[in-house]
């Protein structure tokens, strides 16, 4: 049995092996079977970001988790689809002012997967995106919008790789 792994990069790559028992370890399933493969990853977060909306710029300490859900579906016509959801469950504290932030957001994707050229076809996926999520200020200060670039790959063994490309970009919200 092929275990599922999710690799999440934070400067250094951390490999997290999930104790999953995939029903279809080599693919989503035979075309037309409407079968599914699911797994998820809870990735604890502990990092700081610069709040450039404050004057002078301040440091915000983030805690909580990024939580990723992956769901592979075989359509009746033989197409493979990847449903990906990025969840952001975060809290933040401005280290200078003590202002707290709460971020509870998510972003969804549905991508047509790429058969790997073998028979029967095995779906793979490789995409990059920019997730946006809000940090809501718990006081009379502006909210923050964070944009995080992600590189997400699923190989022919259903091994998903989530690579964080750079640090989140902070934008001020009204």
């Amino acid at each position: 049995m092929v275990g599922k792994k999710v690799i999440f990069g934070f400067g250094l790559i951390i490999i997290v092996a999930l104790a999953a028992a995939p029903a279809y370890p080599q693919s989503c399933g035979a075309p037309g079977s409407n079968s599914n493969v699911n797994f998820n990853l809870h990735q604890p977060i502990s990092q700081t970001v610069t709040n450039s909306c404050a004057s002078p710029a301040a440091t915000v300490t983030l805690g909580g988790e990024f939580f990723f859900e992956f769901h592979c579906e075989t359509k009746a016509n033989g197409d493979f689809h990847e449903h990906w959801t990025s969840h952001y469950n975060l809290t933040g504290v401005d280290t200078a002012t003590g202002v707290k932030y709460v971020g509870k957001d998510q972003q969804n994707y549905d991508l047509k997967m790429d058969p790997d050229g073998t028979f029967p076809p095995v779906p793979t996926s490789d995409f990059r995106t920019n997730d946006k999520f809000k940090l809501i200020a718990q006081g009379p200060t502006p909210d923050l919008t964070m944009t995080q670039s992600l590189h997400i790959k699923v190989d022919a063994n259903n091994i998903a790789t989530v690579q964080k490309d750079g640090n989140p970009v902070v934008k001020c919200s009204k």
């Binding site: 709460v102 509870k104 047509k112 995106t129 809000k134 009204k174």
Partner: protein, 154 residues
């Protein structure tokens, strides 16, 4: 001799201008006319959106694997009218989506988020638009906005 220089300069300018035009011209622009958002924000309201979403596409092929890399940039320029308060809103943002595939075309349904900024006393919200994008290796694109919702966080 001077004539040759002028011709060379003209050719150079033509090539440069053609390159710039190819890089900058939107591949596809969709017009929204009074598309009303579904509001999931207790402090917000449904908003009728009008304006454009432009898509730019770049396709490159890996010579080793033959895989196509489809780079799609969606950019919005929207105005809105609150259906309860009559207040005005604006939204403008962009986002990149990059999909690699060995297939001659690919499809992605993505969520495109932007700030829906109130121009008055009503609270601002987050606009989440669902985009259904199909693009092929020639750079042809079709895209639809299949959902407009508003959020205001927690």
């Amino acid at each position: 001799m001077q004539g040759c220089r002028k011709i060379s300069l003209a050719i150079l300018l033509t090539v440069v201008c053609a390159g710039l035009a190819a890089a900058q011209a939107p591949a596809y622009t969709a017009t929204l006319q009074n598309q009303v958002t579904t509001n999931s924000c207790s402090a917000g309201e449904p908003v009728a959106l009008s304006g454009t979403i432009s898509y730019q596409v770049a396709v490159s092929t890996d010579p080793t694997t033959g895989a196509n890399t489809f780079t799609i940039t969606a950019s919005s320029n929207l105005n809105g009218v609150g259906q309860t308060t009559g207040g005005n809103y604006t939204a403008g943002d962009s986002s990149d989506y990059i999909v690699s595939s060995t297939q001659p075309s690919t499809e992605a349904v993505v969520e495109f988020k932007s700030d829906l900024t109130s121009q008055g006393s009503a609270p601002s919200m987050t606009l989440v638009q669902t985009l259904d994008i199909v693009v092929d290796a020639s750079g042809n694109i079709s895209a639809q906005v299949t959902g407009n919702t508003t959020q205001c966080g927690n």
